[in-house]
Each structure stands twice: as structure tokens, then as C-alpha cells.
């Protein structure tokens, strides 16, 4: 069962903030975040390895709540370059699969 992301899609103006959530029905041991621009391959953003961990890169940060089996990606002061589809990813516990969430389409307008 793949993680469920919310919202499915969001439209922002430049400079606005957004939060993307990733929720799993199974235990999460680590969470990765990727961004895929239209027509391109997904690109790694960051990894969170343990509950309570928070990370940031530029104006994009993420948190991981292991108990709630959730992770959130925070985009602050969004830029046009943030447009794309964001996926959370994780190892499917008990299997060898590396699976991705349902995806969130983000569009930043000027």
C-alpha cells in the first residue's frame, strides 16, 4: 500500500508557503522526498532517517513523525522553480520494495 499524500494538487503565488503531507498505513523507518519536473526524472531532495528529525535545504524543509507514520514537506517563500510533482518515498517494510507516495502537483505562479 503506497503512502498517501495530501493535497493532491496546489497552486501558489510566488512567495507563498505550502505544506505537503505524506501518510503511511505501515511503519515508516525512513522517508525520502523527491521532486519531478514535467518531462524529467525525479530528483532527490532530502532523507529523514528517524522520528522527530527535521531537515532543511534552502527554503525547503521536512519533518518526520515516526509515531504518526507521517512526514511533511514545507516550502517557504515559494519560487517559480519549485513547480513540479513532489513524491515521498520509503522502503515498504517487510519487502524489498522502494515505494513512492501518490504525489502532489505544485504549481507556482508569478
Amino acid at each position: 500500500q503506497q503512502p498517501v499524500q495530501s493535497p493532491q494538487a496546489v497552486i501558489l503565488r510566488e512567495g507563498e508557503d505550502a505544506v505537503i503531507n505524506c501518510s503511511s498505513s505501515k511503519a515508516l523507518y525512513s522517508v525520502h522526498w523527491y521532486r519531478q519536473k514535467h518531462g524529467e526524472a525525479p530528483v532527490f531532495l532530502m532523507i529523514l532517517l528517524k522520528g522527530g528529525e527535521q531537515k532543511g535545504h534552502d527554503k525547503i524543509s521536512a519533518s518526520f513523525n515516526e509515531k504518526k507514520q507521517q512526514s511533511s514537506l514545507y516550502l517557504t517563500a515559494s519560487q517559480l522553480s519549485y513547480s513540479g510533482t513532489y513524491f515521498c518515498g520509503t522502503e515498504d517494510s517487510g519487502t524489498y520494495k522502494y515505494i513512492f507516495g501518490t504525489g502532489t502537483r505544485l504549481k507556482v505562479l508569478a
Binding site: 525520502h32 532523507i47 513524491f87 515498504d92 524489498y96 522502494y98
Partner: protein, 112 residues
């Protein structure tokens, strides 16, 4: 190589024909993954290789799909008797320790 390389980048085939998709991972990356992405959809896990071994083939959609990896490098995904529902982008990714996946640009497969 500098990144994950996939070939061909585009493949148009007729229904019923067989196709082979190739993935050349980053040198030294022991883990290799194949995914299918239908238009506007998410990433569907197909198969994972650790070295030359594929411990989990359960993601392959049907017995028309097979994959192999030789020499801990190149991998080939073969689709036999292609169907129109096989049309998608097939993405390959490689990793050293599963903590960061590097993706290739994908093969756009169109089955007419």
C-alpha cells in the same frame, strides 16, 4: 558514468511485439530499481536488484515482463507481446545504500 543512462529514450512499437529497455546505472551502485509511470500518474515499483539478484519480483505486472542484470551493472527490462496498456515511461534508478536514488531520464514506450 556520470549518471544513470537509459536507452532508448523513446520507443514506438506495434501491439504484440517484444521490446527491450536498457539501464546503465552509476558505477559502483549495487542497488537498481525499475519503475513504470503512466501519464500523469505516480511511480509504480516493478523490480529491485541488489547486485545481480532480484529478491522481489512481485511488482512485475504480468509474466510478459522480465528483467535481468549482469555484472552488477547493466539491466534490461523486457516486455513480451506488448499491449497498449504497457504504454508509459519506464524509469530506472540506482543507489549505493538505498538512501538516495538517482534516476535516469526514462524510456517513453508507446504501443500502437
Amino acid at each position: 558514468g556520470a549518471g544513470v543512462s537509459q536507452s532508448p529514450s523513446n520507443k514506438v512499437t506495434e501491439k504484440g511485439k517484444d521490446v527491450e529497455l536498457r539501464c546503465d546505472p552509476i558505477s559502483g551502485h549495487t542497488a537498481l530499481y525499475w519503475y513504470r509511470q503512466r501519464l500523469g500518474q505516480g511511480l509504480e515499483f516493478l523490480i529491485y536488484f541488489q547486485g545481480n539478484s532480484a529478491p522481489d519480483k512481485s511488482g512485475l505486472p504480468s509474466d510478459r515482463f522480465s528483467a535481468e542484470r549482469t555484472g552488477e551493472s547493466v539491466s534490461t527490462l523486457t516486455i513480451q507481446r506488448t499491449q497498449q496498456e504497457d504504454s508509459a515511461v519506464y524509469l530506472c534508478a540506482s543507489s549505493v545504500n538505498k538512501e538516495k536514488l538517482f534516476f535516469g531520464s526514462g524510456t517513453q514506450l508507446s504501443v500502437l
